[in-house]
């Protein structure tokens, strides 16, 4: 680990302590006033999916008004795309919502009290299906890259960048893995050939490393190998190294950027290993800013980051690191509790937020090795990153901010107007496999701990929202 000390300048790493005194307080003031500016810019304008869409608005409103309805509502949304007939839809609506229908009058619009075989039921279920489709289309830009082109173009015309993500079912066989592979290659090829022709593909910010290409694809590695699991570690690494190389080769041809997404704690060691193995290959040694994702909710994340920084240093060319809070909290926590394992993730949301800030600092302190991308909808987290960058004299063209498509346009716009490069993470895919993603987004927006909920629904005090998170367990 001695090498690490030199590379990373651990002295710099520990300067959170240095900042704890008066400087710390001054810095804290800066973060808060920066955050306030963002808030005033937004003027609490609601994200698109909340004002433009009757259905998502209703679902959110009902779910938050009646917590006992929330689970049923989301379970219903989850199953709907799998239902093929209107009577099946009508039956499920009734089964999930009839008990609560009495208490919320507007639920009648979903056809709870209509006999499933009736013509009215058919109309009601068409409306429901339409509603879910609309709701999903706020978060999912299209079934494929080809079909999402106009939405992607609009994003760039609005001076925002994008990275696309392919939604899909669990990959249970090699046939499905190869279908995924084809989808990735197809996405790279079709975006590569289309996007370069757009006027708006010119760099949003000249000289920004994230803008060396307008095309960027995020890869879910576990989709590329059906037998990927820790007990099959060596083979998983070998197979995925080959398959990711395949994708990267196409990316190279199409001059596209790549992010390798992080997944669950069990598979992440495979993912980080494959990332390093692929981008150590001679063939890809010049590949610009290969991207990887770091999850701040993981207790191991600091160690992982140090490894990644050390890798970047060894490689001699910087990598891109997208720092996020993490998306698998519930399933991983449940699995740990069921097995009586120590949960691998911070159990308090505030601790993840605090860790996000700690990792933000490490990333920015090592700016010569990384292109940091701060992925969050939490204005405090983002304001902290921007202010800390400024503190270190890091310019706006040396890092970027990332947000989920459709979740937080007002926040994205506010940062964009302050001169930051903002990139949307844009999911593509069919409705059935997209439902899991949609439900996670809905949950995120309605959870008691959701920053978005507090920002857009509860109108919490700005001071509270911008408060420094405390580190913990």
């Amino acid at each position: 680990m001695k090498v690490m000390v030199d590379i990373l300048g651990v002295n710099k790493v520990t300067d959170s302590e240095k900042l704890s005194g008066e400087t710390g307080q001054a810095f804290e003031q800066k973060v808060i006033s920066f955050g306030k500016e963002i808030f005033s810019h937004m003027n609490r304008e609601k994200p698109g999916f909340l004002h433009a869409n009757f259905w998502s608005d209703r679902v959110m409103e009902w779910s938050m008004a009646k917590p006992e309805l929330k689970a049923n509502m989301f379970r219903l949304v989850d199953v709907l795309p799998a239902l093929k007939t209107s009577s099946a839809i009508a039956r499920h609506v009734k089964e999930y919502l009839s008990q609560v229908a009495q208490t919320i009058h507007s639920i009648a619009a979903w056809g709870v009290n209509i006999p499933p075989q009736s013509i009215r039921a058919r109309f009601a279920s068409i409306a429901v299906r339409q509603g879910v489709r609309q709701m999903a289309s706020q978060f999912i830009a299209g079934e494929s890259a080809q079909k999402a082109l106009s939405k992607l173009k609009t994003i760039r015309e609005n001076k925002l960048a994008f990275t696309v993500d392919l939604l899909g079912e669990y990959c249970v066989s090699e046939q499905e893995a190869s279908e995924y592979m084809n989808r990735y290659l197809e996405a790279l090829n079709s975006l590569g050939s289309e996007v370069s022709g757009w006027k708006c593909s010119a760099p949003i910010m000249e000289g920004h490393p994230g803008e060396i290409s307008p095309v960027c694809v995020s890869i879910k590695l576990s989709a590329l190998y059906s037998q990927c699991n820790p007990l099959n570690f060596d083979r998983s690494v070998k197979v995925l190294t080959e398959r990711l190389s395949n994708v990267v080769r196409t990316a190279q041809e199409q001059n596209a950027m790549i992010y390798v997404d992080a997944e669950d704690t069990a598979n992440n060691p495979i993912i980080y290993k494959v990332f390093q193995d692929v981008f150590s290959l001679d063939e890809f040694k010049d590949f610009p800013y290969p991207g990887i994702v770091l999850q701040a909710y993981a207790k191991e994340s600091e160690k992982t980051l140090l490894e990644l920084l050390s890798f970047a240093q060894k490689r001699g060319k910087p990598i891109a690191v997208r720092l996020v809070k993490g998306a698998y909290w519930d399933s991983e926590t449940v699995s740990a509790l069921q097995n009586h394992w120590e949960p691998p993730l911070f159990q308090k949301k505030e601790s993840s937020d605090a860790n996000f800030e700690k990792l933000t600092k490490i990333l920015l302190q090592n700016i010569e090795h990384v292109l940091p991308a701060f992925g969050s909808h939490n204005i405090r987290s983002l304001a902290h990153a921007c202010c800390y960058a400024e503190e270190l004299g890091i310019k706006q063209d040396q890092f970027e901010l990332q947000m989920l498509y459709g979740m937080a346009d007002p926040i994205a716009n506010a940062f964009k107007e302050r001169g930051y490069l903002v990139r949307f993470y844009v999911p593509l895919g069919e409705l059935i496999p997209g439902m899991g993603y949609l439900v996670r987004r809905l949950l995120e927006n309605t959870s008691n701990e959701s920053f978005l909920r507090h920002t857009f629904f509860d109108e919490s005090e700005i001071e509270t929202l911008l408060k420094k998170p405390a580190a913990g367990s």
């Binding site: 239902l83 249970v172 499905e176 037998q227 083979r235 060691p269």
Partner: protein
């Protein structure tokens, strides 16, 4: 008592996602492999603490590589068997009268010793019965859970309770040992089931003899030495590795035997029940038989099921440990339009599972237990293929007792393929028009052990709660892997007598309830009124 009914907690499984856990387990595998090569393992009858020698032997082999002999088993014969029963008879009273606390401590300690040696025990399971890593670990921790849970439960039953009292009368209700217990154990959970049945009997104060399956004698031998190490008196327990057909009837028919606890095939289970119905000359007690037999378990996949979850759940339930679990899924019934997409995805998924030696951490599908089993299954598959539609048959290595993972579609409900328990990686699928019809087809079986449902309809799930009456019903998950106290395990119909292993009622079957009433009035006074 906490709200959990007890303060019992399951032993956590090994988290194989951690590199250090995998390395440590790999070291145990390597060490066990070395000990096998060094001929360090073996088994023989143990009676009165004595390791008996002489007589016939049988090699126990690695089913994935039959040339590898795990150890030589010295088989118990008739004399050994009678000697064991005589020894137990001599000591059964003193063991039964041992304080419950003392018995609790001994059995709990047996669990603790296994916990310390969990990796080496699991590694031996990997080699002797061909079980993959995760499942071998699950086998060991289940055995430990049984020790800890039963020890604690026994204290509840064996401590006298006052049920209802009136002045001048003291009423005590308590349980005591039945006498001599015979345990006949299977090879498929070579440690968990053998241990669970044996310690349930012992902890209740029964002098106990264990007759393990021939195929897993070595593990049973290691387990038995742990019992002795933990402090079970030498004369209160005996181990008789041997051939079931030879010594089984001697054990079950013997007049001194009070209790028989069996897990295995329906044929043997029913034979034991009928044999023991005949009272032998000199027999004091009516024999208590606890019999756990097979299953022909079905998973119903509703039209609205989450297919991702259903495929994963079926794959593991049908092919985990090569389908050699009584809880395994051998039938799938799809409702309506779920059928074709399911068949398509399960075929591809089955074709890609990793087949290999179970000592290799990545192996999903290992061998079946022995040549007899393999030949029986292969013959059955080829016969069934003549009348039923073969949907997929995988490949297997040449060496070792492997049977290909096999899928049939549109299977006739009257065919042997649909009705008989096969105990191998063979899955029969069919389609029904409605959820209700699917559940009744699932229930149309002589067995009723486990069952599963994948559905997202609250109404259909409720229908299953009411009508899918198997011993263990699983909703939206796999149907194997019951965990002590979380899923007390056992079935009805020809699956068993309804004893729920790992549940709160299990020990009662190993015990004799007694009521003691004392008149406390003496010469015109009673202590309560003084």
């Amino acid at each position: 008592m906490s709200e959990n009914e007890s303060n019992f907690q399951n032993v956590p499984p090994i988290d194989f996602s951690l590199a250090e856990s995998r390395a440590s387990f790999q070291a145990a595998i390597d060490k066990t492999g070395k000990r096998i090569r060094g001929n360090e393992f073996g088994a023989c009858p143990i009676v009165g603490g004595e390791f008996l020698s002489g007589g016939n032997t049988l090699p126990s082999v690695d089913p994935a590589d039959p040339e590898r002999i795990i150890g030589t088993v010295r088989l118990a014969d008739k004399n050994d068997t009678l000697r064991a029963l005589k020894t137990l008879k001599g000591s059964s009273k003193s063991w039964a009268q041992q304080s419950p606390e003392k018995r609790h401590d001994i059995i709990k300690k047996a669990g603790d010793i296994m916990l310390e040696r969990r990796e080496e025990l699991a590694a031996l399971i990997v080699y002797e019965v061909g079980k993959p890593w995760k499942e071998a670990d699950a086998d060991v921790i289940e055995a430990i859970d049984f020790c800890h849970y039963y020890a604690q439960e026994m204290l509840k039953h064996c401590t006298g309770r006052i049920l209802l009292e009136v002045p001048g009368e003291k009423n005590i209700y308590l349980h005591s040992a039945r006498g001599i217990g015979v345990i006949i154990a299977p090879w498929n959970f070579p440690l968990a089931i053998a241990c669970g049945m044996t310690v349930a009997s012992l902890v209740c104060g029964n002098a106990t003899v264990l007759k393990p399956a021939e195929q897993s004698s070595i593990i049973a031998f290691e387990f038995f030495k742990i019992l002795l190490e933990a402090g079970v008196p030498e004369n209160a327990c005996a181990l008789l590795p041997g051939i079931g057909e030879e010594i089984g009837p001697i054990l079950t028919d013997h007049p001194d035997v009070d209790l028989i606890c069996f897990t295995g095939s329906k044929a043997v289970g029913l034979d034991i029940l009928s044999r023991t119905a005949t009272v032998q000359p000199g027999q004091q007690n009516i024999k208590k038989v606890i019999s756990e037999m097979g299953g022909k378990n079905a998973i119903v996949i509703d039209e609205d099921a989450d297919l991702d979850e259903a495929i994963k759940g079926v794959l593991y339930s049908a092919f985990g440990f090569a389908g050699q679990k009584c809880s395994a899924c051998s039938r799938v019934i799809c409702v309506g339009d779920s059928y074709e997409p399911f068949l398509e995805r399960i075929r591809e998924a089955t074709g890609d599972i990793l087949i290999g030696h179970p000592a290799d951490s990545s192996t999903f599908l290992g061998p079946v237990i022995d040549a007899t089993s393999r030949d029986r299954l292969l013959t059955f598959i080829s016969t069934a293929s003549q009348t039923q539609t073969l949907h997929f048959k995988g490949n297997v290595p040449e060496k070792g007792y492997y049977v290909p993972a096999t899928l049939f579609r549109d299977v006739d409900t009257q065919s042997p393929l649909w009705k008989q328990e096969l105990f191998g990686p063979v899955l029969a699928c069919r389609k029904e028009d409605s959820f209700e019809a699917a559940v009744s087809v699932a229930m149309d079986s002589e067995y009723a052990l486990t069952g599963g449902v994948f559905s997202r309809s609250p109404q259909n799930i409720e229908h299953a709660y009411l009508n899918y009456q198997v011993g263990n019903l699983y909703i939206n998950r796999s149907i194997t892997g019951a965990i002590v106290l979380r899923q007390p395990f056992g079935g009805s119909r020809m699956s068993g007598v309804g004893a729920k292993a790992g549940g709160p009622d299990y020990l009662l079957q190993f015990l004799q309830p007694r009521t003691i009433t004392e008149n406390t009035m003496r010469r015109g006074f009673t202590p309560e009124l003084l």
